[in-house]
Subunit: 365 residues, 2 copies
DNA sequence: ATGAAAGCGCTAACAC
DNA sequence: GTGTTAGCGCTTTCAT
């Protein structure tokens, strides 16, 4: 009863008493077929439970009808939103999406790119981890590559869609300074491999560069507002859990006089909140906290956290559009910059003179 | 310089002065090739920047080397973890993963399944939304289908990997009852389409059935512990934001005497926390809250939320293994059940006699 | 050990 | 409008 192998276009043609080209026309929508024939073909196809093979079509057309998407980690809320955006756009364009996670490992990323090229995907969207992957080759073999959320300084010709991180940090700093804060701690993400906890050099490291953008925006805005900058208020940590926690704890204990902390990412923000709680600091009475990335828990936190929302979903959506629709317009005028939004909640308050006595001392690792 | 079209096996064969079969042998690892020839082939391939086409191979082999993964929503933390698990396993097996989100819409899911079948994926893993999709056909054309996290009652023959939700809820109820609670509200997820806020019927609705499992476990455990069950403490809500909030608010206002709330999912838990805050109820002094799904914010919450952790990542990993490796062992002895873990934090306290006066009155929509 | 040749399922000229 | 035919890039007998 059930056919051992799924029916092919040839089977359908035979069953409908037509040529295979006609069947192809019916299913690919190309050319013209009389209503009667079309009906017969459709009936035969239904009867045989025929499913056109994307493999055959792909081979002929030299494209698979799918795109590749590489993110650092699908469980990161920002990445997840980005993925959702790509999925939404790809769906409207009838393409499927091969997703993979590079976990910040350039070698792994290079492998993924290779696989994607072998699959002959119609394009690749990546939140790039590094320059090991042969991005140019990928852009050549696949029709194209678009970067999302991050760019690689050495590959300026690859089009990109980014959040306006500088603008986001600027609005946060302006907000904090407007509240009266002067000694603001900056928890920044260090590039992979950098010594954790060390103050950054202020220059862009090879990968990402986005951390550099945020730190520079922090410095620039402070300068612009004529707030003196203290180097040891700027801390760079690998944003992994423990390192981030250590960095935040170090900052808050070393400088008991900081009145506000700006975390340059949600993992760093999480660390800041946990450290403040561990040190028994009241937020915002003893210290104000704000962060980049408006993830779900920001609202659930007590007090709810003020954050800069970055349009992750839109970034994904636009990147996909850029890749598949606006091929022509691509890469002109530098990266596409999407606006961020400052979401004010309760975690930042006006400046108080000093921390309550006894607070801010280590009490908990 | 750059070839207009990427090199094919034929080009490499010509360049290396060998037949295409030899090149194929070199790249597919099949058959035997002399070391010298292999070297020449590899050199030629490198020279031409040759990438074997998965399309050609797939057509011949009648499999694409990829699997499909359908989840309700990639931005849901549980789903994201599940996806990560599938990705991890697929990677070890050298398969790529086509991911898509059905958003709880059976029609959309059916479309996705169709696309996946057209792609001739080697198998499909799904957190199923409904029975519209032709799962049996998919299982036939693709080699197989495995359900994750949910099963479809009408398709018992499809293998599945699930969390032991019943056990999780049971441990939560036992914990709460052990703390002295007797009037425990249950916030359950209603099947899509059911009237929100209405008490459920206690029977499995067509889709998912997982909500049914949790509610039944709630009832059963209470009965087993000889705690009287009050029907109007059981509320079913669509777990979407507003509906969940409304359901939680309804429960807490209608029954000012509930001393604990068990939310059957993280969205419902979020609603419970927000409502408690809105009603100015102290947690756990006025009301204890616990939920199923140990998502990131549970720890960031104040107080941190007690929750049942479900092994989302493992579910994904096992489902993928089952699909690709343990084909033989599949579907024997019913679904694979993975254990949950009760993570006790600060959101549940011992029973107090009554809510503080004035609390629990509506004060905030 | 290696090459020639026959498809895998489909689309796109090109004939009629 | 519809059928015929020639590949798309690869794997795989089957010879050699």
């Amino acid at each position: 009863m059930t056919p051992a192998r799924s029916a092919t276009i040839k089977d359908v043609a035979a069953a409908a008493g037509v040529g295979i080209a006609t069947v192809s026309r019916v299913f690919s929508g190309t050319g013209s077929v009389s209503a009667a024939t079309r009906e017969r073909v459709l009936a035969a196809a239904r009867e045989l439970d025929y499913r056109p093979s994307a493999l055959g079509r792909g081979l002929k057309l030299r494209r698979s009808g799918g795109i590749g998407l590489i993110v650092p980690d699908v469980t990161d809320p920002f990445c997840a939103d980005l993925v959702a955006g790509v999925l939404a756009c790809a769906r409207t364009l009838g393409e499927h999406v091969i997703v993979d996670a590079a976990h910040g490992d350039p070698a792994r990323e290079a492998e993924i790119v290779d696989r994607l090229v072998e699959q002959r995907v119609d394009g690749v969207i990546a939140v790039p981890a590094g320059e090991d992957a042969d991005w140019r080759a990928a852009a050549r073999v696949c029709s194209s590559v678009v970067f999302a959320d991050r760019v690689l300084p050495r590959l300026p010709e690859i089009p990109a869609v980014l959040a306006d991180d500088a603008g986001g940090v600027r609005s946060l700093v302006e907000y904090l300074v407007g509240l009266g804060h002067r000694r603001i701690g900056f928890l920044g993400a260090a590039p992979p491999g950098a010594p954790s906890g060390a103050a950054s050099t202020g220059r862009d490291g090879p990968p990402g560069a986005s951390w550099g953008v945020r730190e520079r925006a922090f410095r620039d805005t402070l300068a612009q507002l004529r707030v003196p900058l203290e180097e040891d208020l700027i801390v760079a940590a690998r944003s992994a859990g423990d390192a981030a926690y250590a960095a935040a704890a170090g900052l808050l204990q070393r400088r008991a006089d900081v009145t506000a902390v700006l975390a340059a990412g949600h993992l760093l923000g999480e660390a800041a909140v946990l450290v403040a709680r561990g040190l028994d600091l009241r937020v915002p009475a003893d210290v104000s906290i704000a962060m980049v990335d408006d993830v779900a828990w920001a609202e659930l936190c007590d007090p709810p956290l003020t954050a800069v929302a970055r349009p992750a979903r839109d970034i994904g959506y636009r990147a996909c559009e850029l890749l598949l629709r606006d091929r022509a317009r691509r890469g002109r005028g530098g990266p596409v910059l999407l606006p961020t939004e400052l979401v004010v909640r309760g975690s930042c308050g006006p400046l108080r003179t000093a921390r309550a006595p006894g607070r801010g001392t280590a009490r908990h690792a």
